[in-house]
């Protein structure tokens, strides 16, 4: 395998040819495969699907249990606040995703290429692990201690806690930026870790060959490393998209969706309808709509996934 471009074509193992096993043996094994797979998978699919069915049932009934047809859907979809929250979520995603991916990739490349000391690499690994596993609530509270007026350390460090201090959590564009910063802080390390782990697996022969040919670091990245880690990059992006679409905890603690509805993302809106308005019927209709929309969205983007489907 001399051409580095051929390397990324490893969409995981394909089913390897099995010369030594006879055809009838193979079909027996295939049956065994399904016998093993179906009971577990079936159970899991059923267990994971029941909530959806329940949500559908609840979405078709009123609070008193009477069948009301599509009324709840009409109410849910007729509410302008829904589209507002979708828009805010989209803005949030547009800020957070590119930042996290580019920053994570940049840091991974930087460390991969310049840091040789195992001790420093280990220290960076530890530092990067922490934000991922802090309880979301603690994240929210720590950043309140950072962003809050008067006693927040950010304004103290900036030397302005007076009447005209910067209001990180309650002036509209800044509030969005502040909650996005927290996301970037918490999840860039995840992207970094995944991509760094990926870069470690790039075969050194390919890299050395390119260096011998005098490729610049940029060309080395574009032609060798990037194609190699592309599936992983996509997967990391997938996990981040999934998480960004359901962002809730730290926003709830930091701004509660405010000021006004500036940071009322989709999950916060669902919470508001279901738990503040106690309108479980409309909340279920919303949940069904969201689940269906996510499934469609997922189907649309899933062809970019590193899963062999051919």
């Amino acid at each position: 395998m001399t051409s580095p471009i051929a390397v990324p074509e490893l969409t995981a193992t394909t089913v390897a040819p099995r010369g030594r096993i006879h055809w009838s043996d193979r079909s027996r094994q295939e049956r065994l495969g399904y016998r093993l797979l179906l009971p577990t998978l079936g159970t899991v699919v059923v267990v994971a699907t029941i909530p959806f069915l329940l949500a559908v049932v609840q979405a078709l009934t009123s609070a008193s249990g009477a069948f009301v047809g599509l009324d709840n859907f009409t109410n849910a979809l007729g509410n302008a606040a829904l589209y507002e929250s979708v828009r805010q979520t989209a803005i949030y995603a547009a800020v957070v995703l590119p930042t996290e991916i580019l920053l994570g990739l940049g840091l991974a490349l930087l460390v991969h290429r310049t840091v040789r000391s195992p001790a420093i690499r280990a220290a960076i690994y530890v530092a990067a692990m922490i934000p991922i596993f802090i309880p979301q609530i603690a994240v929210g509270v720590v950043f309140r201690l950072v962003f809050a007026p008067d006693y927040g350390i950010l304004n103290v460090l900036l030397g302005d806690t007076g009447r005209n201090q910067i209001l990180w959590l309650s002036s509209p564009p800044l509030a969005m930026l502040s909650v996005a910063t927290v996301d970037v802080w918490q999840w860039t390390p995840f992207v970094y870790l995944v991509l760094f782990a990926g870069l470690q697996t790039v075969p050194s022969e390919s890299v050395e060959a390119a260096q011998v040919d005098g490729a610049s670091p940029w060309r080395q990245f574009v032609h060798i490393e990037l194609p190699y880690i592309r599936p992983l990059l996509l997967l990391a992006l997938f996990f981040r998209i999934a998480d960004v679409l359901r962002v809730f905890d730290h926003v709830y603690v930091l701004t509660g969706g405010g000021p006004g509805t500036t940071t009322q993302f989709l999950s916060l809106y669902l919470y508001r309808v279901g738990f503040r308005f106690s309108d479980l019927s409309q909340a279920s209709a919303l949940a069904v709509v969201v689940m269906v929309a996510m499934t469609i969205f997922y189907t649309l983007i899933s062809r970019f996934l590193p899963v062999e489907t051919r």
Partner: protein, 280 residues
């Protein structure tokens, strides 16, 4: 060969140092806050370094507030859910990686499991609440275990699949040719070989369960089944946020998964490639 401090190296070092400082500062602030007295938190200008550092908030959280029970609940629920998720993921990954099932089935499993992660928990928390209540597991740890298992199954499936793919089929086949049954081959060949993969996946799944809040909050009612993050959230009261205890709770919550992560660093790094890149 000693390397020289070129301009490029200085710039990259500076970038790294800044990045590390920015990322580590909130953690420092969490720890610093957890060591402050209540009086110091009332200082007109917040102090960057605790003036009279004290471990009292940790005692408050673990002993006076009885959060050690919640810590234990978290450990039980997360261990149970991790074990279940790994076992189920293994049962699903074994056939799709070791046996000749069709590609579309394989693709379905991977696609479907990842799509599960796209459901906002807030959208399914109400139906899950209904179910958990209907089967009598409201305010019971098994209820949490079931829900956590489902929610982290995608992660477990993807990681285990990656590890299993890397174990050459030939090794097992050699055992089969020698007359071993599938079960024996699984037990004596595959299982020992996939031990590190299982460990890595388990640790990552455990850590994700550990930080979960919403389901624990909705599905539990008393300290009998509440998890640690729910207790920590409880320190934000209406009239007072008990900052130092809250921060101490945060530090305690980080400590356990972090120790696991450090202990199993090598495996975790391998797990994070999800097997979508195969090592040559």
């Amino acid at each position: 060969m000693r390397r020289r401090w070129t301009l490029g190296r200085i710039v990259t070092t500076a970038v790294l140092v800044v990045a590390v400082v920015v990322f580590v500062f909130p953690l420092y602030w969490l720890i610093a806050t957890s060591l402050k007295t209540k009086a110091e938190l009332y200082a007109v200008v917040p102090t960057l370094v605790p003036q009279n550092p004290t471990l009292a908030p940790y005692g408050d959280v673990l002993v006076d507030r009885g959060f050690s029970t919640l810590l234990l609940n978290s450990i039980i629920a997360d261990l149970g859910a991790t074990a279940a998720a790994i076992a189920i993921a293994f049962a699903i990954c074994y056939p799709i990686t070791r046996l000749p099932v069709s590609r579309s089935v394989r693709a379905f499993v991977l696609n479907w499991s990842l799509s599960l992660r796209f459901l906002p928990p807030i959208a399914v928390v109400i139906p899950y609440f209904t179910i958990v209540r209907a089967i009598g597991l409201y305010n019971q740890l098994p209820g949490l275990i079931i829900v956590y298992t489902i929610f982290n199954l995608p992660l477990a499936i993807w990681m285990l699949r990656g590890f299993l793919d890397e174990i050459p089929l030939e090794i097992e086949e050699a055992a089969l040719v020698d007359g071993a049954t599938r079960w024996t081959a699984f037990r004596t060949v595959l299982l020992p070989l996939s031990r590190t993969g299982i460990l890595a996946a388990a640790i990552i799944v455990f850590a994700f369960d550990w930080a979960e809040f919403l389901f624990a909050f909705i599905l539990t009612a008393t300290p009998q089944s509440m998890t640690f993050p729910v207790g920590v959230q409880g320190l934000v009261t209406q009239f007072e946020i008990i900052w130092n205890d809250m921060a101490a709770g945060g530090v305690i919550a980080i400590a356990l998964p972090l120790l696991l992560m450090i202990a199993a660093r090598r495996y975790v790094m391998t797990g994070l490639t999800f097997g979508v890149i195969r090592e040559k």
